[in-house]
């Protein structure tokens, strides 16, 4: 039962962006289209799961003051792996996501989960935590991206929705990301505070 909890907490009760307030930078920047959002989710989740796995398995031998340089080394290595793999096998995605793939290194969910969870918990639950957080991150990112792509580019997965209609371009630009994310945060808090009052 505990394992199930560690897996699903990332989706709602500990959602990385909407509850923990982490990773706003990639969320705002890459949510311009659903396919970008999904590839970003895949890349970040891979790094998150691998770094959680490695960090939790070496947690007992790592001296406290050494953890930050070690975590960064590990995370940067996995990001480089993702970077090379995407460059070799998904060049279109690699070109489209550009700088945001290397920037996964500074995605605060990954360092945050290493600090808060993986270095205190066992290997198996840390992997579950990574998968759950990845799903939660991806869900928020994809919903945000779907709203922005439909309204801002009049398309979904790159396919035009209504031929000939002029889209509201502001939605794919930075303000659209802020508005939509703010509305999502508001909806999340409204639901949570209502269920608390009961």
């Amino acid at each position: 039962m505990r394992h199930w909890k560690e897996l699903v907490k990332g989706i709602w009760s500990r959602n990385p962006q909407l509850v923990l307030g982490l990773a706003f930078c990639p969320t705002l920047a890459v949510s311009t289209s659903v396919s970008n959002a999904l590839w970003m989710t895949l890349a970040a989740t891979f790094v998150l799961v691998c770094s959680n796995l490695l960090i939790s398995s070496i947690r007992k031998i790592v001296p406290g003051h050494l953890r930050i340089p070690l975590f960064i080394t590990i995370i940067a290595s996995f990001v480089t792996v993702v970077d090379l793999l995407l460059n070799a096998y998904q060049p279109e995605v690699y070109r489209s996501l550009g700088i945001f793939i290397p920037l996964i290194v500074v995605n605060c969910i990954i360092l945050g989960r290493a600090e808060e969870f993986a270095q205190k918990n066992g290997v198996f639950v840390s992997v579950l935590d990574g998968i759950g957080m990845g799903i939660g991150f991806g869900l928020t990112l994809t919903v945000l991206a779907a709203v922005r792509e439909v309204l801002g580019a009049n398309s979904l997965f790159g396919y035009t929705l209504i031929p000939g209609m002029e889209p509201a371009t502001a939605m794919v630009m930075a303000p659209g990301a802020f508005f939509t994310l703010a509305l999502m945060l508001w909806a999340m808090n409204a639901v949570n505070s209502r269920s608390k009052r009961k």
Binding site: L70, T73, L97, G98, T160
Partner: protein
């Protein structure tokens, strides 16, 4: 004291070794694929920016204004008005100019009259969904077509499957100023009216990206002239 120095050193070294081991294997696996793709895309890019031309010789390099300039020469046989065959020269060159978030590198093809024969973006780091749409292939089918299971034959069925932003440069005159207009996503029906004005349709929300590509062409054409001037007396066999 010794423990404070030796233990962290050993642990850091061990972890770094694990990372290096992992990275070297992934690199061994991917680097040939990346290199092969880079070569293929270079060849595809040349075929794209100089359609119909045969590239003669290898790439040429020269130092122009303190930096390296790379270009290729090609030729194509065409028949002129009186059915006489003649050879037209074409040039492809690499050029770059600062976009919104870093240099945009393009390969541009021009014929001997200064008309653009093609353009392709080699590398860019523009914002996804905005400036990065300079490499987006316009989708002419709608999501509903997808669900119905078939892509209908629309007016653009014979359109080249290359990014629309790059497609519109063909035919522009580099001897005149290239302008830009705000017409949204380009389609082949716009070609004539835009060529009349020697302009392109800028990417919505990414005017900087669009003008940067134009600036790259202008800088590249100027440098091509200088680079060719430095090598002018070369090619002894070619002179008549």
């Amino acid at each position: 004291m010794m423990k404070d120095i030796i233990k962290p050193t050993v642990i850091l070294t061990a972890i770094a070794l694990i990372c290096v081991f992992l990275l070297s294997h992934v690199e061994k696996l991917t680097v040939p694929v990346i290199a092969k793709r880079a070569k293929e895309s270079r060849e595809q890019a040349l075929a794209l920016v100089l359609p119909g031309f045969t590239v003669t010789g290898d790439e040429k390099r020269a130092r122009v204004d303190g930096s390296d300039f790379t270009w290729w020469e090609g030729e194509k046989k065409v028949e002129d008005a009186i059915m006489k065959e003649k050879t037209v020269k074409g040039f492809a060159f690499l050029t770059k100019s600062p976009g919104y978030s870093g240099d945009i590198e393009t390969m541009v093809g021009v014929d001997e009259n200064g008309k653009v024969t093609g353009l392709t973006v080699i590398s860019q780091t523009e914002t996804p969904g905005l400036g990065a749409r300079c490499v987006e292939v316009a989708s002419r089918e709608t999501l509903w077509d997808r669900f119905r299971g078939g892509i209908p034959v629309r007016d653009f069925a014979d359109e080249a499957r290359i990014p629309w932003f790059q497609n519109q440069f063909e035919g522009l005159d580099t001897k005149k100023k290239i302008g830009f207009m705000r017409r949204g996503v380009w389609n082949p029906n716009m070609r004539e009216s835009l060529l009349e004005k020697n302009a392109i349709s800028a990417i919505t929300g990414a005017t900087i990206t669009s003008t940067a590509v134009i600036a790259g062409i202008e800088a590249g054409v100027a440098r091509l002239a200088k680079a060719r001037a430095t090598q002018a007396p070369a090619a002894p066999g070619g002179a008549r």
